[in-house]
């Protein structure tokens, strides 16, 4: 799916806390075991041991790999097929930083995992361990030594990246000036080229990202209801908070069913097709954070074309009530989701109407505990659109009455840059029948800036975006009002669809807050890579304190990639995966065998997810994309990387020390 639903913060916090407690427990245990060695800790000895590890790597000519990597980057950059000048820089920066990261990680793993076992094998450790050196100083010294080597490699590769990108940028700038002087460029391209000529290609912008992106049937003026188009174009999601253990297990043959209820608003649209005799209808379903079905609408006992919302003739009951029945056999599936992000999917099924739902109207009743669960306090329904290649799709309508995308900005008024608010819009454009081609009519998008509290129009203008190219435009300072404003996008070209995204991987519309130095941004990016290498080295040294070096290398990779790997299969391993596994792969007619396999697979999935919580989250080390996309590395990104790196490195160093302290180094 193209977007991620907002997580339930409390659950995420509790997961992080588990790892935090584990780390703190390890640190305390390490201190308790080796308090005397901790008190003896000497920076002089630490630096001396680290220096010998560093010098050893230098004399083994490890940094000589860097010229080879540089050559690889240059070749890769030459073979790339960028779509425009900025993309050329983007791809080159991506190659260079990816290669830098890979180099430091690989060098870190190999050197750090092999060093200690080799010192034990060659017995060099005999002359170290018989000096007044604590095992803590040995472990920490190794980590520091290889971290120094990583820093040296990063400095060399950083200098190369900076120089190569500057040379490339200068060459491309000259080409841009040549093209602009020659003329004969279409309006959109000229707009981009002039922008690159004026601000350069090596960017490091700090952006304000929208807090949310929602797609509505029409702009919801403050105080008015919010409406979605019927499925499959749009739908609504209401978060449902069910605490862990809230659904008690019960015998399916005697247990009572559970009930899911929502009140769905509707309104007839004037353009409703007359051929549509039926009234409004809607469906409910339960989905997880990735919109994988937990309980489908048919399992709730709802008709495939939706439950009619229209009251009997003569009545005007509004909104319409939908109640789904969750049979006792589905209890285990739902119980497994308790305490995890769960959403009620609400979608209108009949065209000619707009649909809406209030989060407070959604309820899950558990009769045997007489409990009723609903949306978290202050939660609102999320209005989302169908996902396409480029994100949530917004349909074009030449009449100007089509659906709208609303990107919400909240906070203090953003600072102006050179008297205006520069913005960037990056979108993919599709048309009915496929991707946009050159022969197609250009896409017109109307953008409105509205005050969030009053809905007052602050500024409006038309844009002509190109597919998969960044459109740079600026609005006057007054457009952002008091700082709480909505940007409303409406496509005015019929048959064209623009794809929009929001979330941690970058929003389609971004407000430029300031221009930072590219060198400073590159330095921050390299710092994140250094923190990553520190984590890698700590894991590798830790593994090498109790394993032979080949096993230590493998275990380091497993620890490093474990959480990411589990997150990749998490979409599949939702509750109920065991049942699907039995149905699709392990086909058996023996119900007892099927149950064992199904429960076994579910337990395995849960165990994997539980273990993954204690592994480092390498996705926090976002070093490459910001530099490639010209985005300033946020201090929070640096902070998150440092937290993960130090949060794991310190306990691992202490744990490695404890292992080494009780290890016979001269067996």
């Amino acid at each position: 799916m193209a977007h991620t639903l907002p997580p339930i913060a409390l659950l995420e916090a509790s997961r992080d806390s588990l790892a935090l407690f584990a780390g703190a427990a390890v640190v305390l245990a390490g201190l308790a075991v080796g308090l005397r060695d901790v008190l003896r800790f000497s920076p002089t000895r630490l630096w001396t041991i680290s220096s010998v590890a560093f010098r050893q790597s230098i004399r083994r000519r490890v940094p000589w790999i860097t010229p080879l990597v540089m050559l690889g980057v240059v070749i890769a950059a030459q073979l790339a097929h960028p779509v425009d000048y900025r993309d050329d820089i983007r791809q080159t920066a991506r190659f260079a930083l990816f290669a830098t990261g890979m180099l430091t990680v690989l060098v870190g793993i190999i050197l750090a995992a092999t060093d200690l076992p080799k010192e034990i094998e060659t017995r060099v450790i005999h002359t170290i361990a018989t000096k007044p050196v604590t095992r803590l100083e040995i472990v920490a010294g190794k980590v520091l030594g290889f971290a120094r080597l990583s820093a040296a490699i990063l400095l060399i590769m950083g200098a190369f990246t900076w120089t190569y990108l500057h040379l490339k940028s200068a060459r491309l700038q000259a080409l841009i000036r040549q093209r602009l002087d020659a003329g004969q460029i279409d309006h959109a391209t000229r707009q981009s080229l002039e922008h690159y000529r004026n601000v350069g290609l090596l960017l490091a912008h700090a952006y304000a990202e929208p807090q949310s992106l929602q797609i509505y049937a029409s702009y919801p003026s403050p105080g008015q209801g919010r409406w979605s188009l019927p499925s499959p174009e749009q739908r609504m999601l209401v978060p449902l908070a069910i605490p862990s253990g809230a659904i008690p297990s019960a015998d399916p043959s005697t247990a009572a069913p559970l009930f899911l209820r929502a009140l769905v608003r509707w309104r007839a649209v004037t353009t409703r097709p007359t051929s549509q005799p039926a009234g409004p209808a809607a469906l409910l379903a339960l989905v997880d954070a990735n919109e994988n079905t937990v309980v489908s609408s048919s399992e709730l006992g709802l008709p495939a074309d939706g439950l009619p919302l229209m009251p009997p003739p003569g009545e005007s009951r509004q909104p319409g009530e939908i109640v789904g029945v969750i049979s006792p056999s589905l209890r285990p599936r739902l119980a497994a989701m308790a305490g995890r992000p769960l959403y009620v999917l609400v979608e209108g099924t009949r065209p000619g109407f707009h649909y809406g739902v209030e989060a407070s109207s959604v309820q899950l009743a558990v009769p045997d505990t007489a409990a009723v669960y609903g949306a978290p306090r202050d939660a609102a329904a999320l209005h989302v659109a169908r996902s396409g290649t480029h994100g949530q799709q917004v349909r074009g309508d030449a009449t100007g009455r089509g659906p709208v995308a609303v990107l919400s900005y909240r906070g203090p008024p953003p600072p102006a840059v050179r008297g205006v608010h520069p913005l960037e819009l990056y979108t993919g454009i599709e048309r009915s029948g496929g991707e946009l081609t050159l022969e197609d009519e250009r896409t017109t998008v109307e953008v409105e800036f509205r005050d969030a509290a009053t809905g007052t129009l602050l500024h409006s203008q038309r844009l002509y975006p190109e597919s998969r190219r960044t459109l740079h435009f600026a609005v006057p300072p007054a457009a952002t009002g008091t700082g709480d404003f909505d940007v409303v996008l409406r496509v005015l070209t019929g048959g064209h669809w623009i794809g929009l995204r929001s979330g941690p991987k970058g929003a389609s519309l971004r407000l430029v807050l300031e221009n930072q130095s590219f060198a400073w941004n590159l330095f921050k990016s390299l710092s994140i890579l250094w923190l990553l290498s520190l984590l890698v080295i700590s894991i590798a040294v830790f593994c090498s304190t109790f394993l032979s070096w080949p096993v230590a290398v493998v275990l380091t990779v497993v620890i490093l990639m474990g959480r990411w790997g589990v997150s990749q299969v998490e979409d599949v391993m939702t509750p109920g995966f065991g049942r699907s596994f039995v149905q699709d792969i392990f086909r058996t007619r023996d119900p007892a065998k099927a149950r064992v396999v199904s429960e076994g697979v579910d337990e395995l999935g849960r165990a994997l997810q539980a273990v993954a919580r204690f592994l480092p989250d390498v996705s926090r080390f976002t070093a490459i994309e910001p530099v490639a996309t010209g985005t300033a590395v946020a201090p929070s990104t640096l902070g998150a990387s440092a937290r993960v790196a130090l949060g794991f490195s310190i306990p691992l160093i202490l744990l490695g020390y404890v292992f080494l302290r009780y290890k016979e180094v001269a067996p």
Binding site: V52, H126, A129, V133, P667
Partner: protein, 289 residues
């Protein structure tokens, strides 16, 4: 803390090596009890596999005892605090091969937190003591001969001016001159009041320098005592005299016969091959060479 009277106290020290499953594999050392006095040169003798190296590793904390305990300079063996006052020359010179001689000594010196200024004085001094010339000091250790490696190994063992020095097969790889220099150095260390624990299977070396020895066999202590006491043949008497003429020798032989001494031998003593070799080399060494 008052200084212990013994440099090393070992009581019931036992080491059993176990396999992966925890089953006993080898009993390398069995119930060893001994004391090493301060200021003496103590020899640890035994054939291969007798438990000599295991004893040294236990005293240095490189491995842990299965039973018993070892106290070094009044503190538990192997603790970093004890290691401040201990020097160790391993069986082979296990050193960083990518460092040169000087760098090696600076590295080990810094592990003792010896100030750089002090090291600038001590390192050349030590290199002189162990006989490494200016050219050798700048060469990487991987280019060293076995004898040079032993010398730099000895220098690192002495970098902290230790009170207790453990030497595991110190003369291995050394030529006769080097061997003699090593033995002279051991005696000079003894003169400085240091305790030396010498582990070797070259009996002549041990005999030349050790005050007391212990002989281990199959992990057990077989004999412990002063070298002279242990080597003394109590029912044989030796008379040494310089400058006797053949006639005087004959008279002496006659006298012994009259005393009823059977099987008396009067011969010229031989020097050792080591002494002969050193004399020849020294006599043929050019002045200043």
């Amino acid at each position: 803390m008052p200084e212990a009277s013994e440099a090393v106290q070992v009581q019931g020290l036992t080491k059993v090596y176990r396999d992966f499953w925890g089953r006993d594999k080898v009993r390398a050392l069995d119930d060893l009890t001994l004391d090493i006095h301060r200021g003496e040169v103590f020899g640890l003798l035994g054939p291969n596999g007798s438990g000599k190296s295991t004893t040294i590793k236990l005293l240095l904390g490189l491995i842990f005892p299965t039973a018993g305990k070892a106290v070094v300079l009044g503190q538990p063996a192997g603790s970093p605090a004890v290691n401040e006052r201990v020097g160790f020359l391993p069986e082979e010179s296990y050193l960083y091969r990518f460092l040169n001689g000087e760098e090696t000594l600076y590295f080990y010196g810094r592990l003792f937190r010896i100030p750089r200024k002090e090291l600038r004085r001590r390192v050349p001094e030590l290199l002189d003591v162990v006989g490494l010339d200016a050219k050798a000091r700048k060469r990487k250790l991987r280019e060293y001969s076995k004898g040079m490696a032993r010398r730099i190994g000895l220098a690192q063992a002495l970098i902290n001016n230790p009170d207790l020095i453990l030497l595991d097969e110190p003369t291995t790889g050394l030529d006769p001159i080097g061997t003699r220099e090593m033995k002279d150095l051991i005696l000079s260390l003894k003169k400085q009041g240091k305790t030396v624990l010498l582990c070797s299977h070259l009996l002549a070396d041990v005999q030349d320098v050790c005050d007391r020895i212990v002989i281990l066999y199959r992990g057990r202590k077989q004999t412990l005592g002063h070298v002279q006491d242990l080597l003394q043949v109590r029912d044989v008497t030796q008379i040494l005299a310089r400058g006797l003429s053949p006639q005087q020798v004959e008279e002496l032989r006659e006298f012994l016969r009259r005393m009823g001494v059977q099987g008396a031998q009067i011969t010229h003593p031989t020097t050792t091959l080591e002494d002969l070799f050193i004399r020849v080399v020294r006599e043929n060494t050019p002045q200043g060479g």
